[in-house]
Each structure stands twice: as C-alpha cells, then as structure tokens.
C-alpha cells in the first residue's frame, strides 16, 4: 500500500515538470504569434527596425540577436585564457594537491555570486578603466559586457573541463612519459585529444549560461537598440531588451518582446542540447 502511494506521488511529481515546460513553450508561442503574424517570422528575425512611435510601430529582433551572439561569442573567447589554465592546473598539473582544491573551490565560488554583483563590479570598477584607457568614451558597450560575462562563465567552463581532463587514463599519459614526452607534449598529444570533446561540451554549456544573462548585461551594455557596428559601441541583447521593456509594454510591442523571448528560448535549448549530446559522447570514449 505504502509502496503504491509512493509510486503515485513519484510519477505525479515527475510529470509536473514536463507539463510546466510544455506550458511555457505553449504560452510563449501563443503570445508571440501576433508579432510573427504581423511581421512574418523571418522578417521579424532579420529586421533591424525597432520603432515605438504609435502608428509607425515596427519591431525587428536583429539588433538584439546580433547583440546576444556578439557578447556571447566574445565572452567565450575571453573566457578561454582564464578557464583552460585553471582546468589544466586542477585536472592535470597539480591534480589532487591542496592548492588545486583551493583553486577549484574559489572558481566554483565565482559561480555562486549573484549576477547583480558582477554588474556592480563592472559598472563601478571596470567601466572607469575602459574610459581611462580610452577604449570607448562612454565605458559601457558590447566589449565591457562581454568581458564581465567571460568572468561569469569561467567556473562553468573550468570545473567541467577539469573533470574531463581528470578522466584521461593515466596509462596513456604514463606511456607517453615513458617515451620521453615532456609535460607540454603530453597535454597537447594525449590529454587534449582524449578530453577534447568533453572540454568542448563544457564550453558549449558555458555559452548557454552567457546567452541568457540579463542583469549584468543590462547594466553594462548601454542599451541602445541598434545593430552594433563595432565592439566598443553600445548595443542590447535579447535578454536585456525584455528586462528593460516588458514593464510598459502592451499589444504588438509585448508580443514582439515575447517573440524575442521565444527565440532566445529556442537558441538556448538547442545549444544546451548540443552540449548534452557531446558530453554523452565524451563519456562513452
């Protein structure tokens, strides 16, 4: 009897999450439909016209899609020189030592810091430096946002990568050492080929995190609704335009914002799925 009750509860709670997930997709699609109907799906994605003026209302997602992809891509590039050394340090060079444990704990701590704090740091510490160095006159922009995003995703990339690096069989490494390979050679010829797809998937998952980051980006990107024409100009991302505009939005504008939300949802879902598939493959090797 008790077993039966337990089973029913288990099944019920297992079903709830997929139902909620499906409900989110359904309501997003439902509310976004009027924007897609008005502008056409592809036209909505590729139009850079974002105009609030009543009567001339026109909404296109291109400035925000480019803003999101640019910041995410840049953040990924900036993140590699921070996260890869940490992963190698923890997973290979100083594996199992106290200092490696300390380093990995600190890196993991970075993941727990709320994004508003990264935003504040970027706003009050990093922005003045960007202005001081005359990288951009206003300090905020794509580059500033991407830089802080990079630091935010370091823990995600580093800790998962180091797990995969640790998984490389020691027989292989010992074999390489026995043949007189240096440490650098072992890493280049043995560790990377073995752990490569796992490390790659770690970065894919880190991208997934950077795509949807809202608060930090809103504080640092300058929030101008244009397709960015250089890295130092201001821009806007899909997440930040929604956070900025939903409060006073209704009608077509609200529907367009929800449509952007749907596109962001799809992009994030696809990227995460790719990451998951790659991880599964890496674990089978």
């Amino acid at each position: 009897m008790q077993d039966k009750i337990f089973r029913t509860i288990l099944i019920l709670s297992a079903i709830i999450i997929p139902i909620i997930g499906g409900g989110i997709i359904y309501s997003l699609t439902e509310d976004a439909s009027s924007a897609f109907e008005e502008f056409g799906f592809w036209n909505f994605i590729f139009s850079d016209d974002w105009n609030y003026t009543p009567g001339k209302e026109s909404y296109g997602a291109l400035p925000f899609i480019t803003g999101t992809l640019l910041t995410t891509f840049l953040a990924l590039i900036f993140c590699i020189p921070f996260s890869l050394p940490v992963a190698l340090f923890v997973g290979e060079y100083f594996r199992g030592t106290k200092i490696a444990t300390a380093l990995s704990t600190v890196t993991d701590l970075l993941a727990g810091i709320p994004s508003i704090i990264y935003g504040l740091w970027g706003f009050y510490a990093l922005r003045p430096i960007f202005m001081e160095l005359e990288i951009s006159p206003q300090g905020s922009g794509i580059l500033t946002a991407a830089f802080v995003l990079a630091i935010m995703i370091v823990p995600y990339a580093a800790s998962l990568s180091s797990e995969f690096i640790k998984m490389v069989p020691s027989e292989l490494k010992e074999g390489a050492y026995a043949m007189g390979a240096t440490r650098a050679e072992v890493i280049r010829r043995v560790v990377f080929p073995m752990a490569g797809s796992g490390v790659f998937s770690a970065y894919i998952l880190a991208i997934g995190r950077a795509l949807g980051e809202t608060m930090t980006v809103t504080m640092l990107i300058g929030n101008t609704n244009q397709v960015p024409d250089s890295l130092t100009t201001t821009g806007n991302t899909m997440a930040s335009i929604i956070a900025n505009q939903f409060g006073e939005a209704d009608g077509l504008k609200l529907s367009s914002l929800i449509a952007i939300g749907l596109i962001l949802f799809l992009i994030t879902a696809i990227i995460n799925m790719i990451g998951k598939i790659l991880i599964r493959r890496a674990q089978h090797v």
Binding site: P137, Q138, G222, N223, Q245, E248
Partner: protein, 351 residues
C-alpha cells in the same frame, strides 16, 4: 506531523484574525486594497498608504510595476486602482469602461549633468532637444555659451544618457521636447520609450544617475523625486515666459495652470510665471462603476476613502518631505467633484 498541522492552523488563524473583525475609523469593515502602476510616485505612496493604514485601518498594497503594467492590471480587473504618470489617451479610454483620473501629487523631470567645476548650468528647451537629437555635440557649443556667459564650458563631446526601460519619466521629457522642438516632434515624438538617436541608456533613475555620477561630460534626465534626494547637479531650464527656473517644489507647483474638468492634461512647457517647464501630475485611476470582478461595496467605499484621504491638505503638505510637490487647490477641487460621480451598481457612493 501533528505539530505541522497545529502550526498551519495557527498561521491560518493569524491571517484570518488580521483581515476580519476590525472596524475602520468610519465604522465600515476594514478591507485590503490593491493597486499597481507607476514607480515615480512610489516613495510618496508608500508613506501615505502606511499612514492611511494607521489612521483608518484599511490595508493598502501597491506594486510599482510601471504605469503601463498598472493600466493593464486595471483593464484585467485585478486591482482596485492603478497609478499612472501619463493620463489615458482618448483611444485608450475607448477600449475601457469609463474611468476617473485623480491626480495625487506633482513632480518633474530634471536634467542632471556631470561637468567638473560647473556649479550652475542654464538650458533652454530647444537646446535640450538638439542635444538629445545629436545636433549639439560639444559642451562649448555657441548656443550653450550664450545661455551660460559666466561659465567656462569644456571643449568636450556631450554624452547624453536616457532611460532604457519604458517609463513615465521618458514620456514627460519627450512630451516637453515635442512641444518645444518641431524637429523632435517629427523625427522622434513622445512616448514611454523613444528611439533616441544618440547616447547610451540605463535602467531606471538609479541607472541613469549612476552613469552620470561616474562619467564626465554626460547629461541625462531624471525624475525630480530621485534627483532632489541625491547629491547630483541639475540644470536650470528656461520656461515659456523666458524665465530661467531652478526645479523646486514651488516652481513645479507653479506649472499647474488651467486644468480641465477630468484633470487629464499635460503641463509641460506651461505658460505660467515661475513655472518649471518639465513638470507633471501623477494620477491614480479607478473605474467609474466600482462593481466589477465581484468587488464588494466595502471595497468600493474603501477605494474612495483612500482617494479622498490623498487629496486632504494634511497629506498634500507631506509631499515635499519625500521630494514631490503638492497639488494646486483647483486640482483638488475638481478631483473631489469627479469622485462624486463614482458609482456602485449605478448608485453614487459619496453623498
């Protein structure tokens, strides 16, 4: 397990005890009122609703979700009243059942700037419009020099800052710019969100003030209630009569000139002596027919009691303590008349 039940029961009893069985000052069952909307008057509302609760017993909760969100909530019938910095347009009024606008206090939009060594800056409407349109790009532009003959203006690029979120503050500011600049009106217009051609944007008054605070040569617009409470430099603006006016409680109140019966009017660029030209009302909006979404008569009476309380002299006197300006007598008088038209099942609630 038993302990948990007992705890839940105690909690339930507490909540029930809190909402029922208490009488208000005028003998009616006390109720809970909900409102939502504009964030601009939030500090004033928080203070006043607390005082009202203490004095009258009705609990009022107000969510600062933005004017647009508030109006949407009222349309959905899930709130007793909504707050808005912009009065409903004729088109918006057509989409809804009849509503009553009640102004509650006045505020303004000020131009904050960051110019090292410049204590006082004078601006005029056309110059502000051209700065935000990207036509005036240098601080030592001839037109700025003409307005500020005694000030040494640096030869630096002007960096405008505007609001990234939809906001009543942006509406009032762009409404003013549209009145004083034909170019602004045709190219950018007025609204809660406007496509500014130059500069950068930040979220909320704190965001804009934050950027101005730590970035030299910036200029941006901020709600007066926020600017007055902060140590931030803001400019004088020339009004319609050619007077250079410093934004203050007095100069904001002076901007309310002629007010129509329904109090829906824009008072930017007011033609009045001593008027700060970028001033505004903020309103609470309720349905004229109060029986909607199964609301009780008590609920309707409480809504009106609250609004009447907001209009009293003693409450209006407190506006300045939280950096707003009191309503002119005329607005109070008109609002009292308008509240008399509010009904429940077609019967006037106030006698």
């Amino acid at each position: 397990m038993k302990k948990m039940y007992a705890f839940a029961a105690a909690l339930l009893a507490l909540t029930l005890g809190a909402c029922s069985g208490q009488k208000t000052a005028n003998g009616r069952e006390s109720v809970e009122l909900t409102g939502a909307g504009a964030t601009f008057p939030l500090p004033f509302y928080t203070m006043t609703f607390d005082n009202y609760n203490a004095a009258h017993g009705d609990k009022v909760s107000y969510g600062g979700i933005g004017s647009g969100g508030g109006v949407r909530n009222l349309k959905d019938g899930i709130v007793d009243f909504c707050g808005s910095d912009a009065f409903l347009s004729d088109e918006e009024m057509k989409e809804m059942k009849p509503v009553v606008h009640v102004p509650t206090c006045m505020g303004a939009v000020v131009l904050a700037y960051n110019l090292p060594g410049v204590e006082k800056l004078n601006l005029s409407g056309d110059v502000i419009a051209d700065i935000f349109a990207g036509k005036i790009t240098k601080w030592d532009d001839a037109r700025l020099k003409e307005l500020n003959p005694d000030v040494k203006l640096p030869s630096q690029n002007i960096m405008p800052v505007y609001r990234s979120d939809g906001s009543g503050t942006t509406f009032i500011f762009t409404d003013y710019l549209s009145k004083v600049s034909e170019n602004w009106k045709t190219n950018y217009g007025s609204g809660k969100s406007v496509n500014f051609p130059v500069g950068q944007a930040a979220k909320g008054n704190p965001g804009v003030a934050g950027i101005i605070g730590n970035t030299q040569y910036t200029i941006g617009y901020i709600g007066s209630e926020y600017a007055f409470a902060q140590k931030i430099a803001y400019a004088n603006v020339k009004n319609k009569r050619g007077e250079m006016i410093t934004p203050s409680t007095e100069s904001i109140s002076a901007a309310a000139g002629e007010i129509p019966q329904d109090t829906r009017c824009s008072i930017t660029d007011a033609d009045a002596a001593g008027a700060y030209p970028i001033s505004c009302f903020t309103w609470l909006i309720i349905y004229q027919e109060q029986n909607y979404s199964n609301r009780s008569l008590e609920q309707a009476q409480a809504t009106l009691d609250l609004l009447q309380y907001m209009l009293t002299d003693s409450v209006q006197q407190t506006t300045a303590t939280v950096h707003y300006a009191p309503l002119p007598k005329k607005a109070v008088e008109l609002s009292r008349q308008n509240l008399k038209t509010v009904t429940y099942n077609g019967q006037a609630i106030l006698k």
